[in-house]
């Protein structure tokens, strides 16, 4: 099971955090800080796996991360997940973001926090991998996006008339 998904930038600023287990507000912040600390000091040419820190639950859990330009994508998982499988899942996630935002950058994540969460929700549901197929994820997200557009349309047309 996936315990948490964190995205933060090279300075440790959280860009998105999603916890599938309950932690207190303070613990969540501590986990983000600790994870950043662990991950950021690793070289580029080492492996993408880390045995978990104390906070997120002892030796059973591990961190699997990828580093893209300014952002770290970190998945904290328990022993029932395949390491390489998750590594590719991160890739799928990033590619999906890239498709949805057309050349995703750090700012997209900041300004569309809700959208990022919605995309993630189509991939991972309650800590379980729901969908790994990028086109399927995009279809679902777009179905929801359509509503958004139609709404803007409804709201904006009268205003333009005026």
């Amino acid at each position: 099971m996936i315990k948490a998904i964190l995205i933060f930038n090279n300075h440790g600023k959280p860009r998105m955090s999603k916890f599938y287990e309950h932690y207190t507000e303070d613990t969540e912040q501590q986990i983000i800080r600790e994870t950043f600390h662990l991950v950021s000091k690793r070289d580029e040419n080492v492996c993408n796996f880390l045995e978990g820190g104390l906070l997120i639950g002892g030796s059973e859990n591990k961190l699997i991360y990828r580093h893209y330009a300014t952002l770290y994508f970190v998945f904290c998982v328990d022993s029932s997940e395949s390491e390489l499988g998750i590594l590719d899942l991160i890739q799928v996630f990033v590619e999906t973001l890239d498709k949805c935002f057309e050349n995703v950058c750090e700012l997209d994540l900041i300004f569309h926090l809700d959208k990022v969460h919605n995309i993630l929700a189509e991939m991972v549901m309650g800590g379980m991998v729901l969908e790994t197929n990028m086109s399927e994820i995009i279809t679902q997200v777009e179905a929801q996006g359509k509503m958004e557009k139609s709404e803007t349309f409804v709201f904006q047309c009268p205003r333009q008339d005026r």
Binding site: V46, C47, L54, G85, H112, D114, M125, M128
Partner: protein, 1122 residues
């Protein structure tokens, strides 16, 4: 803040213009983010966010805020919460948004809810109706959102409300809905397994769904279910194999391909499921050989994800029943992993090796050069994994090198978690394989100074116990102790300020205990060193206490130093220290007293601890006589507290303490009051987990790798290994060297490595050539611990030692157990009739101590330190008495074989004495009352009258005796039934008799019976149990203490309960056990026990409302008093 952000910010206006409406919504957010990025300090950020939150608070409470604005506020709140600021005032608005808004608002509302709230949050209850409505909605998106939120956060108690709707969704025409419904049900299963028991059939339907996506989701459930009980799903093996075959054969739509690999994640899941199914099961394994082979063959493309599949495949091959060809292929795969230049693959290769070496140690031999390179790898994770691997292949020959490597690593490591983990392993290895005393002590010194105060408490405890208990030979023990003393003196002479407290404590204990062994060293020196420590500021007050007790133990002669010290400390601020200083002062002045209090060289376990504090009896009785209130144990005090708060339904009932059934029913909210003791298990979890893991490994090795089977063929294919290791190593090394280091110019470095390799992998070849049983045949640990005397046996000795202490030691228990201040407590009489054989009685305390001790001796001989307590499985197994007291001899012949309790004296007067005995018949409780004539004359017209309102008398016999001869005994039978469970019931009665005609005497008596007397095992099959479980209405759930003193905590605990309460253990599956019993009147009670951490989660169901409470109560007591 990052430059990138700022650069992009300048380009923002254009970006947002093109996105029209969206830009307006994120306007405020943009401002917020922009201002945050411009800030330089954390403090400024805090201020800004505070302002922002204030503004938001105003906005949300304003009635003019539109839904759309609200949506925007929510996103801002999410942002603030992510940064770690509290925006809890928005929670209720998030729920409102989900309740009232359109689809878009709902989406943001649900998202905010799932981010802000946790499963236990009370506001979630407000969401339940909305979720219900949306689940029924015809709008796909709404239904999807509802399912998502249900799987993310949903209050456990409300699951029954949505369950039928989610179930319906399993047959929804849209696959995405079906898929989400499956995952939601899986989530329900995880948090409340019993709620979804009835829909296992639907899971099967989902598995055979026409849409592969739905099927894939259902694999999550099956992976979990099969992990819990592989045996129940063996029939599905064929299906899983077929699915995997189809996936491999490319039968899935191309959509499922990822980098042209068909559905890789699905394959991974399937392989995991198959390995669980095939574990230790030859016939099931045979079904999957073919598909595993194909999987190995197909996964040859060079992409990350194919390696993921390969890795799972290899693990599966090594987990299931072995097949030679597959093993060879898998071994080759592992080789590819280990030798891969890709670091991720190397990591997995090492992991695979770590897994495999338990079965096949020579695989590590093949890769020794790579392993050694990995030891010096710059990547922390790789190094750690390599050490893990080395830990698995450690034996007596290579232990020094491996431990040295581990310690090297530890010295350069600053991750707390890794240190704790690894230091534990080092001490385990040191204890197991230490070549000599000096090495052992030195290694442990390193462990203590590196691990320091991070160490789990059991490491120093084990070490000290090892020193104290010693082995069989006293000489060896003394040498070890002597060495420890010498080495500690050296350590203490150096710099001590950096030493961890835990190390100082160990040292002072050892010095105090064994410094006298060292003849050459001046005692003054030892005292001086220890006193020096006391003066250091870095030493904690706990350590000071250790040091002072050590000083107390170092005896005679040095009075001046000690006196000086004691005087100095007697004005200390610390009361404990001051007390110890006083003790020190007195003991040092009175050498006789010193000798008596601290006898030198007394054997470790011969020290008798008077746990009953019997020496205080005089004081207590004086205090009582002076009018002090009698002592009440905490449990009872709490009950009384409970009684005060709850309405007492039986105000004038006979029983003095509160009847539990009444209090727990009226006060159901706080069941914790009754289970204080369940928290007692404390830190023993570590131990049990450790034991669990080691047994697991051995189990795997033994079963899978039997001596017969594939072994001979394996030897034929790899004949090298048959020779002794010295002969084997050079060729293998060369081979490996050629592969990894083809350039000859590096030969000197290479030689170093080879040397290291030969020292690391020594003994492996031998091990594997002798037998692949591997580590299970490792030489016996050097430091063999003496079997630890079991707690109960030591209490047993104190019990026998003196009657008075025994009585007082049981006094508290009795009040506790029987809840009444009877003059003659059952447990007291138990020790009085110490040789009466005992069948299981209600209190669960009566164990036949002698046989238990015997068993201990046996098992400890077999298992060394790991003791397994074997208990008789049923009451019937206990044999009838060999030596019997006079009264049990009077049992009617037809009843003699029944399980029965001890004979308890009820009352007596000069002419008559009454005793009772409980016999557990299947259909009733037989209460036998023995009426003994103590006089030399005949007693006439003896009539017994027994009353008890709560019980029903089914039959009685012998209650009127016309004439009781001198010195004879008559027996009166009562068959009793309990219709309504009460925790304890009291009976009262009178005996009337005539010693002289016309002169009637009466003798009142009373006693207590517990529900446990009226409980009988209910024999059921697991299926019957399942059916019955669902049909029962009244349930109670509670966490109980888990007994962790033996190998399998669940089994031990259940056996203890069974012995105490006459339960029937129906089945034990993994970490769960099901147990059944019935009340005599017929009402069944089912118990479902699950191990969760250090606790046993017990769930009881019964048709009778009060029965679960009663049984739970007795379970708690049975466990608390073991």
């Amino acid at each position: 803040m990052s430059d990138v952000v700022e650069k992009t910010l300048t380009a923002l206006p254009g970006l947002f213009d093109s996105q029209t409406g969206a830009a307006k919504i994120t306007n405020r957010l943009r401002q917020l983010v922009k201002s945050i990025t411009e800030l330089t300090s954390k403090h400024e950020e805090e201020n800004l966010i505070k302002q922002e939150l204030c503004a938001m608070k105003e906005q949300v409470s304003s009635p003019n805020t539109s839904m759309k604005q609200m949506r925007e506020i929510m996103v801002r709140a999410m942002y603030c919460e992510m940064l770690g600021y509290d925006a809890s005032f928005t929670y209720i608005h998030a729920i409102k948004l989900a309740q009232q808004g359109g689809v878009l608002e709902k989406r943001v509302g649900y998202l905010a809810v799932s981010l802000f709230l946790n499963e236990g949050h009370e506001l979630l209850l407000l969401l339940v109706n909305t979720v219900l409505k949306d689940l029924q909605s015809t709008n796909l998106i709404e239904a999807c959102m509802a399912l998502t939120v249900v799987a993310q956060v949903f209050p456990k108690d409300m699951i029954p409300a949505v369950l039928p709707l989610v179930e319906d969704k399993l047959s929804h025409p849209k696959e995405i809905i079906r898929r989400k419904a499956v995952l939601a049900l899986y989530k329900f299963y995880l948090i409340a397994p019993n709620q979804v028991q009835h829909i296992h059939g639907k899971f099967r339907k989902a598995l055979s769904d026409r849409d592969p996506g739905v099927m894939a989701s259902s694999l999550h459930i099956y992976l979990q279910l099969i992990r819990e009980s592989p045996d129940s799903y063996k029939d599905l093996t064929g299906s899983f194999v077929t699915i995997l075959k189809q996936v491999l054969g490319g039968k899935l739509p191309v959509d499922f391909n990822y980098h042209s690999v068909p559905a890789p994640w699905l394959q991974i899941q399937l392989l995991r499921i198959l390995s669980l199914l095939g574990k230790e099961d030859q016939s099931t394994s045979e079904l999957m050989y073919e598909v595993l082979d194909e999987s190995l063959r197909r996964a040859e493309m060079n992409h990350n994800i194919t390696y993921a599949i390969l890795y799972e495949c290899v693990k599966a091959v090594y987990t299931i029943h072995p097949k030679v060809e597959l093993l060879e292929k898998a071994a080759r795969c592992i080789g590819n992993f280990v030798l891969s230049p890709k670091i991720n693959l190397k990591y997995l290769g090492l992991k695979a090796l770590t897994y495999v070496v338990q079965h096949d140690a020579k695989l590590a031999l093949q890769h020794q050069m790579t392993i050694i390179e990995c030891l010096d790898h710059s990547d922390f994770t790789i190094k750690r994994e390599t050490l893990e691997l080395l830990f698995r292949i450690t034996n007596a020959q290579n232990v020094t090198v491996i431990v040295e490597k581990m310690l090297d690593f530890l010295r350069g490591c600053n991750d707390e978690h890794t240190i704790i983990h690894l230091v534990g392993k080092v001490s385990e290895l040191a204890e197991k394989f230490a070549p000599d005393n000096s090495w052992f002590i030195q290694t442990m010194n390193c462990v203590f100074s590196i691990g320091g105060d991070l160490l789990q408490q059991d490491v120093p405890n084990n070490f000290l116990r090892l020193l104290a208990e010693g082995s069989e030979s006293k000489e060896e023990d003394d040498q070890l102790r002597l060495y420890a003393v010498e080495s500690y003196l050296t350590v203490l002479k150096g710099h001590t300020s950096h030493l961890p407290q835990c190390f100082l404590q160990v040292m002072s204990w050892v010095l105090g205990e064994y410094a006298h062994l060292q003849g050459s060293v001046d005692r003054r020196e030892v005292i001086r060193l220890l006193t020096q420590l006391l003066d250091q500021r870095s030493v904690s007050s706990e350590t000071r206490v250790w040091i002072l007790s050590a000083l107390t133990k170092i005896p005679e002669g040095q009075t001046d130093l000690i006196l000086h010290l004691a005087e100095r400390l007697s004005s200390s601020q610390d009361t404990v220290l001051r007390q110890q200083a006083q003790e020190l002062l007195h003991l040092s002045q009175d050498s006789q007293l010193h000798e008596w209090v601290l006898p030198r060289g007394a054997p470790w376990d011969a020290i008798e601890v008077d746990s009953s504090l019997s020496f205080l009896d005089g004081f207590v009785s004086e205090a009582l006589a002076a009018g002090a209130a009698p002592y009440k144990p905490p449990h009872q005090r709490q009950e009384e507290l409970c009684e005060d708060r709850a309405l007492n339904l039986e105000p004038y009932s006979f029983s003095l303490p509160v009847s539990l059934s009444s209090c727990s029913i009226t006060d159901r909210q706080s069941p914790t009051l009754l289970s204080v003791s369940s928290g007692l298990s404390g830190n023993s979890t570590e131990l049990s987990q450790k034991a669990g893991s080691s047994t697991l490994i051995l189990e795997g090795v033994k079963r899978v790798w039997g001596k017969d089977g594939y072994l001979p063929q394996k030897e034929a294919t790899a004949p090298l290994v048959d020779e002794p290791s010295a002969a084997v190593q050079p060729p293998v090394q060369q081979e490996a060297a050629e592969r990894t280091e083809p350039r000859p110019e590096l030969s000197t470095r290479n030689q170093d490595k080879q040397q290291l390799a030969s020292s690391l992998f020594v003994g492996l070849g031998v091990g594997s050539s002798v037998s692949l049983l591997g580590r299970s045949e490792a030489p016996p640990p050097r430091f063999r611990k003496k079997p630890r005397p079991h707690e109960s046996s030591s209490s047993g000795t104190s019990e026998k030692s003196s009657g008075s202490s025994c009585r007082s030691s049981h006094h508290t228990t009795d009040i506790f157990l029987y809840g009444s201040f009877l003059e003659e407590e059952p447990a007291t009489s138990k020790s009085a009739f110490d040789h009466t054989p005992k069948s299981t009685t209600a209190n669960g305390l009566s164990q036949n101590k002698d046989t238990k001790e015997d068993k201990h001796a046996n098992t400890s001989q077999i298992f060394g330190g790991d003791m397994v307590i074997v208990r008789p499985s049923t009451i019937q197994d206990k044999h009838p008495p060999s030596e019997s007291s006079d009264l049990t001899a009077l049992l009617p012949a037809d009843l003699k074989d029944l399980p029965h309790s001890d004979v308890i004296s009820l009352t007596s007067d000069p002419s008559l004495s009454l005793s009772s005995c409980r016999l557990f018949r299947d259909e009733a409780l037989l209460l036998l009352i023995f009426i003994s004539n103590c006089t030399e004359t005949v007693i006439k017209d003896v009539a017994v009258q027994l009353t008890c309102e709560e019980l029903k008398t089914a039959s009685l016999r012998g209650n009127i005796v016309d004439c009781l001869e001198a010195r004879s005994t008559s027996v009166c039978h009562y068959a009793l039934l309990m219709d309504d469970p009460h925790t304890n019931v009291s009976f009262t009665g009178t005996v009337s008799y005539q010693t002289q005609p016309g002169h009637t005497n009466t003798l009142p008596f009373s006693g207590t019976l517990s529900t446990a007397d009226f409980i009988r095992p209910l024999v059921l099959t697991t299926e019957e149990y399942g059916k019955l479980w669902l049909s029962l209405s009244h349930d109670v759930k509670q966490n109980l203490k888990l007994l962790t003193d033996a190998g399998d905590p669940l089994r031990t605990t259940l056996n203890a309960l069974k012995d105490a309460l006459q339960l029937h253990v129906v089945d034990i599956i993994g970490s769960e056990g099901i147990v059944a019993c019935r009340l005599l009147s017929g009402a069944p009670c089912l118990l479902h026990c699950r191990v969760s951490g250090a606790a046993l989660v017990m769930w009881l169901r019964s048709p009778h409302p009060a029965l679960p409470d009663c049984i739970l109560y007795h379970c708690q007591r049975a466990l608390a008093h073991r």
